[in-house]
């Protein structure tokens, strides 16, 4: 399954399409710095899908899929975007004090698969094209919807929380501890929403960076409580990566389908 997923990924250039690859490959965006001081600063961000954190070794994330949102909710222009084979990079300038969100969240993808003349057919697109191309009428068609977010947050000056306003779609992150205010030895609490409601019982995987220098990667799994909150105390300073995914069933526009939502983000723990 893993190899099939990789081939499909490469063949279709679908970077965020396959929820199934989340465990095999880790998507991440790593800013040059998470916490800034001064009136105006530039930040550069690496974006890749790799096995080791945070070392590119598999595939770039398309910088065109990235949106940067400023503290006041405005879209911040991305500059100097470039995509290499195994890593993309882009810059943006911060002129407002507060927290910025860097996100790949876009329109959800729809997937369909069905059998045709003994062959398994696969399709990906929007709900409109799914209807227009008659995919929904295919025999024994199975449809699924994927909401996938890969994010990171950076702050100029004091952290702010406006960029965490929930859209109510898919898995979303809410700070209890601000992600740009994390220190080793202090408990960190983050919260998840699923379609706008607290995502309780969700399994979250947390992994500190530089895992390739450790015999034991140091990954740990946590489960969100009734309020959708998970809590841990980082011991290693440095960048961290966490991810969570959920699967469910829904009916959209009269079509029953599976829903896969995932959320992945990068933050840093500073030494106390």
């Amino acid at each position: 399954m893993k190899h099939f997923a990789i081939r499909l990924l490469a063949a279709s250039s679908v970077l965020f399409a396959l929820a199934g690859t989340a465990s095999a490959h880790r998507a991440w965006m790593l800013p040059s710095t998470f916490t800034f001081s001064g009136d105006s600063q530039w930040v550069t961000v690496d974006a890749a899908i790799s096995n080791d954190l945070f070392f590119p070794n598999h595939h770039a994330i398309d910088p065109a899929s990235v949106t940067v949102t400023g503290p006041d909710g405005s879209v911040v222009e991305i500059k100097n975007a470039a995509s290499g084979e195994i890593r993309a990079m882009f810059d943006f300038q911060m002129n407002q004090q507060g927290t910025y969100r860097v996100s790949t969240a876009g329109e959800p993808f729809y997937f369909a698969s069905w059998s045709e003349a003994g062959e398994r057919k696969r399709w990906r697109g929007t709900l409109e094209t799914l209807r227009a191309e008659g995919v929904d009428k295919k025999p024994d068609v199975q449809i699924s919807l994927s909401n996938r977010r890969v994010e990171t947050y950076v702050t100029l000056g004091a952290p702010s929380t406006e960029v965490f306003a929930a859209t109510g779609k898919g898995l979303e992150f809410q700070p209890v501890t601000h992600p740009n205010d994390v220190f080793t030895g202090e408990p960190v609490s983050f919260k998840f929403l699923l379609d706008g409601a607290p995502a309780s019982g969700l399994e979250v995987t947390v992994l500190p960076g530089n895992d390739r220098y450790r015999d034991t990667p140091g990954e740990f799994k946590l489960t969100t409580d009734a309020d959708g909150v998970f809590t841990f105390t980082p011991t290693i300073p440095g960048p961290y990566w966490f991810t969570a995914g959920s699967e469910g069933e829904t009916v959209i526009d009269g079509l029953p389908m599976k829903v896969r939502s995932s959320y992945t983000a990068t933050f840093e723990a500073l030494p106390l």
Binding site: S37, G38, A158, P159, D181, L270, L272
Partner: protein, 173 residues
């Protein structure tokens, strides 16, 4: 005239801490390194829960040629930045100033100054943090009780980026 003098006397009696002053000696060590830059340094009074009771000093590279590059590195004083700096607008009158070289620097905080006038009696921690470009970072904490009680000066030594930190509380009663 007499009434005014009495009022002034009462003010002194009810708030002895107002007049107590503080002298802080901060030693910046001489370092034998190929590339030396004077450290950024912050000194503040923390409450036992690490919230900030008073900002005493912030030394950083001042604006040059209309640029504000000096403020870019304030966040490297990472505890000060988190506890105080990020909520301040720089420069801060009577608190911020240019960096200083190796030697012992004395900071006199006068009784009745804004930093001390609002300091309620209780336990505090004098915190001094230093960070040096292409160098290290160190934080030294000196717990003390306010107001002054005639005790001997308190001394804690840093190991890398800071030398001896001396806190002298002067009882003005």
């Amino acid at each position: 005239m007499r009434a005014i003098m009495t009022l002034a006397g009462m003010a002194l009696l009810t708030g002895p801490a107002v007049a107590d002053s503080m002298e802080i000696g901060i030693a910046i060590p001489q370092l034998n390194v190929a590339e030396y830059h004077r450290p950024y340094l912050a000194a503040w009074i923390a409450r036992p829960d690490q919230t900030v009771a008073a900002n005493l000093a912030v030394l950083y590279q001042q604006e040059r040629r209309g640029e504000e590059e000096g403020e870019t590195w304030l966040k490297d004083l990472r505890q000060w930045w988190r506890r105080a700096g990020r909520d301040l607008t720089m420069p801060v009158d009577g608190v911020s100033g240019p960096t200083r070289g190796p030697g012992t620097h004395s900071f006199n905080i006068a009784g009745g100054s804004p930093a001390l006038a609002a300091l309620e009696p209780g336990d505090y921690i004098l915190t001094v943090e230093a960070v040096r470009e292409v160098g290290g970072r160190e934080m030294v904490q000196v717990p003390f009780t306010w107001p002054a009680n005639g005790a001997a000066p308190l001394t804690v030594s840093g190991e890398t980026e800071l030398g001896q930190i001396t806190l002298t509380l002067t009882d003005e009663d």
